[in-house]
Symmetry: C3
Subunit: 273 residues, 3 copies
C-alpha cells in the first residue's frame, strides 16, 4: 500500500489547489514539489473556481483566515465537490477563536471533505461543533498516548462515520481512520514541533496523495502521514551538531524529495486497528 | 555586457518595489538582497504610490492576485510610468483563470511595461489577449525546443514590437527579445522546476537589473536571466548526496550572493539571434 | 540578567500573537520556536481579539500593512492593553509613505506599547509624528556611530520618557532605553542586513522575552537584542566558503535554537549607559 500510493503520486504529478495561510505557504509549495506533485495557490473568491477546476484536489487551511479567504474557501470547496475532486480541511486553531470555530463548523456542514486533518484539540472542536469554542471531550484525553489510544481510535472512527470522511489526528501517535478501519502511525520526531508548519505541509501532502489515489482515501492519507513522519526521522538522522530547527526544516523537505517506496516501507511504523 | 550589467547592480544597490505573491515573497526579497539590490513590498492601494516613488523600479507579479492587490498594481504601475521607472510584469498563471487573463490584459493595455516575463504558455496568453482564456498559438509549440526555437524567437520579437516592450520567455531554453534582437540563453537546470518560485525570483532580479542599467533593458534582462540560470547550475554543483529541493533553493540564492562578473561570464551560455 | 531572561523564555514557552508582514512571517515563526516560544499569526479583525486573549503578548509589525490588517492592529492592541499583555510595535518603513507614518502615529497615540523597535530612521519618524513623513532630526545623525552614540542615547531616553515605553534602536550599534537607563549592544554582523527580516525576527523575539519576563521590559528587550546579535555572530562563524545569505538565515535561527545562558553571556557585548 505505501509503495503503491507513493509511486502513484510520483507518476501522475497531481496538481493541488491550496487556500492556505501565509505563514507556511512556501513550505507547503516546496513539499508538494518534493513529493512529486505540483502546487497552485489562490484565495481570491473571483479566481478560485477557475483555479480549482484545473486542479485535481483542494487543500483548505484556515491558519490565517480572513473574510476574503473564507468566501474563497466556500466557493472553491463547492466547486471541487461538484467536480468530484478530493477536498481536505486543516482547521488550524479551531477552538481558539469564535471565528475559527464557526468557520470550521460551517465548512464541515456545507462542504463534503474527503479528509479532515488536525491535532487532537482541533479535531475535538470539529466533533463538538460551533456551540463550544474550546470544547474538550471528557471521554478522550487531550494527548493521544498508548493508554488513551483505544479511546482515541474509537473517537476517530465515530467522527469519521458521523461526518462521512476520513479523520487524521496527528501528534506523537497519529491516527488515520474511516468508520471501519484505523491506521496508527508511530513515525515522526518531537522536534518537528519546533518547526512551523509541519502540519500544514502534511495537509498539502495528503491532498496530493488523495488526488493520485482516487477511491482510496484512507490508504492515501495514511501513507502521506507515514511519509511525513518518516521524513522527519530521516531528516533528523542527517542533522549535524550545529543544526537547529531552520536547517531541520530543509532536511525534512529534502528527505521527502529523495523518498521512494522502498525507503518508506523500511521506515514505516504503521499498524491497522 | 554581462559583467558590466552585474556590476552596475552591485555598485548602485537598486531599490525595487514588489507587488508579488505571498508564496515566494521571502525568496524574492532574499534574492534581491543576494544580487546587491534592496527590496520593498507593499500591496495596499493607499500605500503603493508613495512606496514606488522612493524606489527605482516596480515588479508586478499576479501569482496570488486579489481585488485589493489588483487595484494596487494599477495605481503603482501608473505612478511608476509617470516617474519613468522601469516596470516588469510577471503574469503568473495567466490563461488558467478568467481573472488572471483579464487582469493581465488590462495591465498590458493600461501600464507601459519595460519587460514582460513568463513561461511560454503565459506569454502566449499575453499575446492572445482577453478573448482566449487558455489560448494556444498554433504557430508556436508549447515548449521551446531546438526545433521550435526559430519560431519562438520570431514570436517573441513580434510580440515585443507589438507591445513595445522586452519579452522574456523562460524555460529549458530562455529567450529575451526586443523587436530587433533576441538573446537565447541555455543556462539552468531542470531541477529548478522542483523549487517553488524560481520564476518569481528571476522577475525580482530582472527588475533590479533594469533599475541599475537605465536605457539598456534588453541587455539588463538578458543578463539577469543568465545570472539565474548560472546560479542554478552553480548551486546544483554544490549539492551533497542527501540534499533535495529545499537545500537547492538555499544554494541557488547563495550562488547569486557570491556571483561576480568573471564567474557569470565563465558560466554564461548566451547567444544573440 | 541575560541568563535569567533567556531561561525564563525557555521555561515558560510564551505564546506570542503576531500581526506581521507576509514577507518574513515564516522566519518570525521559526525564530519564536527556536527561542523556546510559540507563535500564532492572525490579522483578521474579527479574529484578533480572541487570539490575542489566549496569548501572552502581541507583536505588531506594519511591514505590509493594509486596511484590513490596520484595523486588526487597533483591535488587537486595545484588547492586549485591557488584558495587561505586553505589546511591541515594529514600525517598518514609517516615514517612507503617508499611510505608514500616519498609521504609526495613530498606533502610538491609541495603543500603549511596551517596546517600540526600529532602525534609527523609523524611530525618528516615531519621534517626529505625523507632521513629517520623512522627518530627519537634525540633532541626531542618521546612523548611530561611536561619535553620535551619546546623542542617540539621550534621544532614545527622551523618547522613551515622552511615550512611556522602551525604545529599541537597532543598527551597527544597538540602543535599548527607558527614560533612565540605556543598554548599548555591539553584537551582530553587517551581513545580517543582507538577509530579509532580521529586524522582524528580533521584534518577535523581544515580544517573547517581554511575556516571559513580566515587569522587566528593559532587561527583557536588551537581552533579546543581545541574543539576536550574538546569534548573528555565531551563525556567521559557522559559514562555509560557498554559503551566502540564504544559508546564513538558517544558521542564525539554528544558533538561536542552540543558545543557552552561558553561550549568550560569553558572546554578549553589552554595557549600561
Amino acid at each position: 500500500m505505501l509503495k503503491e500510493c507513493l509511486e502513484n503520486v510520483q507518476k501522475t504529478a497531481p496538481l493541488v489547489h491550496n487556500i492556505t495561510n501565509y505563514v507556511t505557504v512556501n513550505d507547503v509549495a516546496n513539499v508538494l514539489l518534493a513529493c512529486g506533485g505540483s502546487p497552485i495557490m489562490s484565495d481570491e473568491p473571483e479566481d478560485v473556481e477557475d483555479i480549482t477546476s484545473i486542479c485535481g484536489g483542494l487543500n483548505i487551511n484556515i491558519g490565517t483566515l480572513n473574510q476574503r479567504s473564507i468566501e474563497a474557501m466556500f466557493r472553491a470547496g463547492k466547486k471541487a465537490n461538484q467536480l468530484g475532486h478530493p477536498v481536505l480541511l486543516d482547521p488550524v486553531g479551531t477552538g481558539a477563536s469564535k471565528l475559527r470555530t464557526e468557520t470550521t463548523d460551517r465548512l464541515v456542514k456545507e462542504i463534503r471533505f474527503t479528509v479532515i486533518r488536525g491535532n487532537i484539540s482541533e479535531i475535538k472542536t470539529v466533533a463538538n461543533g460551533s456551540g463550544t469554542t474550546k470544547g474538550v471531550d471528557a471521554d478522550v484525553a487531550d494527548a493521544v498516548t498508548e493508554e488513551t489510544l483505544p479511546g482515541a481510535v474509537a473517537f476517530a472512527k465515530g467522527l469519521a462515520e458521523r461526518l462521512d470522511t476520513v479523520i487524521a489526528i496527528t501528534g506523537a501517535i497519529d491516527i488515520v481512520a474511516d468508520k471501519d478501519t484505523a491506521y496508527v502511525i508511530r513515525n515522526g520526531r518531537p522536534e518537528m514541533g519546533r518547526i512551523t508548519g509541519t502540519g500544514c505541509q502534511l495537509s498539502g501532502l495528503i491532498t496530493a496523495y488523495l488526488v493520485a489515489n482516487p477511491g482510496n482515501a484512507l490508504e492515501a492519507a495514511a501513507t502521506a502521514v507515514t511519509l511525513m513522519g518518516a521524513a522527519g526521522e530521516i531528516g533528523w538522522s542527517h542533522m549535524q551538531a550545529l543544526d537547529g530547527n531552520s536547517t531541520y526544516r530543509n532536511r525534512i523537505i529534502d528527505a521527502i524529495y529523495h523518498m521512494d517506496g522502498e525507503i518508506l516501507e523500511a521506515w514505516a511504523k504503521i499498524e491497522k486497528m
